[in-house]
């Protein structure tokens, strides 16, 4: 079996990519994609550990978590896109740095 550390390295680089995307990107749609990358990094961690917990078997707990989590990620994405539609209506742009009227 492939060593666990490769998977963990991949997961943490995915997580870092997601955070980088959230911190630097200005387009709102890209921010949502960054969020989805973060969620996928977490899902992948569950899948990896469920395969390594009992060699030869997979743990059902982790799989049910991942399936539920994919559904939740989808609903967050839907809500986010709806808000982006309204934000576009009021600001006329997808640039997140324009959303700074609230201060203090």
């Amino acid at each position: 079996m492939i060593d666990l550390s490769y998977y963990l390295g991949f997961i943490f680089s995915l997580y870092a990519i997601g955070l980088y995307c959230l911190a630097t990107k200005r387009n709102m749609i890209r921010l949502i994609l960054g969020l989805e990358i973060l969620i996928n990094a977490a899902n992948l961690t569950f899948i990896t550990f469920s395969a390594y917990a009992f060699p030869g078997y997979v743990d059902r707990l982790a799989h049910s978590i991942v399936i539920v989590s994919i559904g939740l990620g989808g609903s967050v994405g839907a809500v986010a896109l709806t808000m982006i539609v309204y934000a576009y209506k009021y600001y006329g742009t997808l640039d997140i740095t324009e959303l700074k009227r609230l201060k203090g």
Binding site: F46, I65, S69, V76, V79, A80, M83, A87, G104
Partner: protein
Amino acid sequence: MTALFNLPLDILVLFTVLTPFVGWLALRLKRKSLIGLFAAVGLFASGVALYGMYAGVSSGSPVLSAPPSLFSSFFRVDMLSFIMAAVFIGMGLAATVYSVGYMEKDTGLPLYYTLLLAMITGLVGVAFAGDLFTLYVFWELMSVSSYVLVAFRKETWEPIEAGFKYMIMSAAASATLLLGLALLYGLTGTLSFEALASNPPTANAWLFITSILILVGFGVKAAIVPLHTWLPDAHSAAPTPISALLSGIVIETGVYALLRTYFTAFLAIQTQWFGILAVLSILTMTVGNLMALLQTDVKRLLAYSSIAQVGYMLVGFAVGTQAGLSVGLPALPAGVETALTGTILHIINHSLMKGAAFMCAGAIILRLETRDLKDMAGVARKMPVTATLFAVSLFALVGMPPLNGFISELTLFTSTVQAGVGWLGVAIILNSILSAGYYLRVLGTMIRPSMSEAVSKAKEAPAVMLIPIGIMVALIILFGVYPEPVMKLAQQAAQELLRVGGS
């Protein structure tokens, strides 16, 4: 009949699903207030069902869900869960009744009440959860419905901007939390609180990383200071009943979830967290109070003061982490139990105080149609009942003696002295004095002799809004004058939190 989850939660789920249909019918009959009434009936029924569980919970052993339920999700109701659920359902009921008056002119009311019930369902689910997976699912139910509720008045830009900020930060935090849970699962092979507590993972670098990820994940909802930036926007832009719920109970849920995880999974490394949590608590209350001093928008002011109040709760949490010192020893270190009692008590009290304060502010905003403090000069003459209730809840937030805020802050202060970290207690007192500055400014504006133009046309808020506030204010006074019963419940909750899974 097999239950879906357990009775209070089942009732909430049922009413959440039925509300859109009832809402559609109510709009057909042109009786808007029926929807709110239906939601209130649901919350009340759930509260009654919750009271039915009291006998089982108060005996000291947690009530577990019957395993062969439909989703085989795992519930574990002990005194702490019971108190949290009671606060959630009570506040939800108050906010629903209040909404009947406040949201009268809005459209999309069936959606509003459905989301409100879904949020309460999520909150109660978080309180009842017996493992971190169940907790996560209900956590997301609560979060997603609160994003939509913050941006509910989508006709203007402000709620959309605030809602989007809130959603990005909160969803990133949820993903971080999920990664933390995944690592915890990798370390231990289980996510059940009892299994984690009876067999806590040993201290190593991975456990530290996990605890940091989980602190960030729950900390964004709890508005711990470097992670608080979404709160003042979201809490001031949301419709007022939702602000009251977000400030009164949603941020406390973050504190609750932190307590649950740190006192089960992270027992081995708990003591190392004391310093960090102490610094974070001082930072949180100081930043919250200083920023509140600068505000002119009354809802923003209350939102910042919520951050400060979370700081007080974190003090109890920080002192409580000293419990990790005594793993394997018969007695707990001094002050730990008092500190957790104080935190739980402050969660109950803060939800009452801040809920009442937000609702009073909302009543004034509804009549004046402005959120600026300047325009509220002399409002006490035109809305005497609202202003009196507002004054009582603000005095409670300052920590004035015969009111409930004083009791919980005193308990927290006592615990810091008992644990030998009096400087944390001094920070609470200094911050209470600082906070008096802006609460008294609000009061001073309300009783100013000159009336602004908006005020001269105002009239008293409708009774449907004043009744829930009145009940909450009565509870504020009752818990301040006669705190023993609540104190006893909070103490039992603290004791049970300290021995999840143990003995």
